[in-house]
């Protein structure tokens, strides 16, 4: 049996886990936008012991860009809000991480997880709508105007879903 094709049991377990995570986030407002960075930080801390590679110049270039933009971007007038979000600088940070950790990428069979995600994601969205129906006693017409989500806002997740589809279909060639 091809190991990249998930069994029915694995799919059901993933679906149940996804629904539990979705319900937790739905009922308890957790700051979900820190999730990816926390996962990344945990991975970096875990793999720090295995670090062993030449430091590429990309690291220094992205570090210089990161620090340059952080320290030399102009301060706004006192009548305007200070922008404390570093979202626009994150790519440079990620480039630095890639330059140090590129020999320590996670050894994970992506095909299987992509397949599972493609299968269960629409079901999780339906589950999210069901939760809205339970919570707000919303009718079908009201549910039609909702934008269901799994963890984040809909916009980010659709991009991920499409990317998963593209990777599976075009890169791994599983049609």
């Amino acid at each position: 049996m091809n190991s990249s094709i998930p069994s029915r049991g694995e799919c059901v377990i993933a679906l149940v886990l996804g629904c539990i995570v979705n319900s937790l986030i739905f009922f308890y407002p957790i700051p979900v936008y820190y999730f990816p960075d926390v996962v990344l930080l945990l991975y970096l801390a875990y793999k720090f012991r295995d670090l062993n590679q030449a430091l590429s110049p990309i690291f220094f270039i992205s570090l210089a860009l990161l620090l340059g933009y952080y320290f030399f971007s102009p301060e706004p007038p006192q009548t305007e809000f200070q922008n404390n979000y570093l979202v626009s600088l994150k790519p440079f940070l990620y480039l630095c991480v890639l330059a140090i950790y590129c020999k320590n990428v996670p050894q994970l069979d992506l095909k299987k997880w992509l397949r599972i995600f493609l299968w269960i994601y629409p079901l999780i969205l339906l589950w999210n709508l069901f939760l809205v129906h339970l919570d707000e006693n919303a009718s079908l017409l009201q549910l039609m105007t909702r934008r269901p989500y799994f963890i984040f806002e809909n916009n980010f997740e659709i991009t991920l879903y499409l990317n998963c589809f593209t990777a599976l279909f075009f890169i791994f060639g599983q049609r």
Binding site: F48, D50, E75, I100
Partner: protein, 217 residues
């Protein structure tokens, strides 16, 4: 340069005393800068550009509002050090020198607001009274300038006077937000200074240990 756990561990164990000393020195430097930085005050004001109505070229029955001068063009002209009068430089910067003119332009921060028809000026200079005086003078200069563009637009409209253009309206430049002083001293950003001094300490430690390795071997 090979980076691995063992190298990093050896380096940290070997140079943590130097690291601490350099870090304390850098933090001291940062705090010195924070407390002895020049006493900068800020004044902000915003001005609406003069507006003119024009007959649309695409459909002659349609009338559109335009600014008499584009905000970006005006903003660019304000960044020319030679674009200010001698009296203004005397009143605001003390003396009319080339360096003072450049300092004045550097003290200005200009931005467009709304749909590009409001210009916001933010002036940062030493001394509370001085920045207020400069802002008042500068506001007069800006209003004179903009109303000059307004008169120009009026004259142009009179020259091109046709039946369709008789009922066109014009709007003078106006002050949208009056001069507003900062609540107090504008101190440098403490968070950035602290992060900067910590990073400087790390980089200096790396640099000095590299120097030591190079010259001791």
């Amino acid at each position: 340069m090979i980076i691995n756990y063992q190298n990093l561990r050896n380096w940290v164990l070997g140079s943590w005393r130097g690291f601490l000393v350099i870090e304390i020195l850098c933090m001291g430097l940062g705090f010195t800068y924070f407390f002895f930085a020049p006493k900068i005050y800020e004044a902000d004001f915003a001005v609406r550009l003069p507006k003119v109505q024009v007959v649309s070229e695409a459909s002659p029955k349609k009338i559109e509002w335009n600014t008499a001068i584009s905000g970006l063009d005006y903003l660019r002209s304000m960044q020319n050090p030679l674009g200010y009068s001698q009296e203004f430089m005397h009143d605001c910067m003390g003396a009319d020198t080339n360096q003072n003119r450049k300092d004045w332009v550097n003290a200005l921060q200009i931005g467009l607001k709304n749909r590009g028809d409001i210009i916001q000026f933010s002036i940062r200079l030493e001394g509370e009274k001085r920045v207020l005086l400069c802002a008042k003078q500068f506001q007069l200069v800006v209003m004179q300038d903009l109303n000059g563009y307004y008169e120009g637009a009026l004259i142009k409209a009179k020259i091109e006077n046709e039946e369709a253009k008789k009922n066109l309206q014009f709007e003078k430049a106006s002050v949208v937000e009056d001069i507003r002083l900062s609540d107090g001293l504008i101190r440098p950003n403490l968070k950035k200074i602290l992060i900067g001094s910590i990073l400087l300490g790390i980089f200096l430690t790396i640099f000095f240990s590299a120097l030591r390795k190079k010259y001791r071997s």
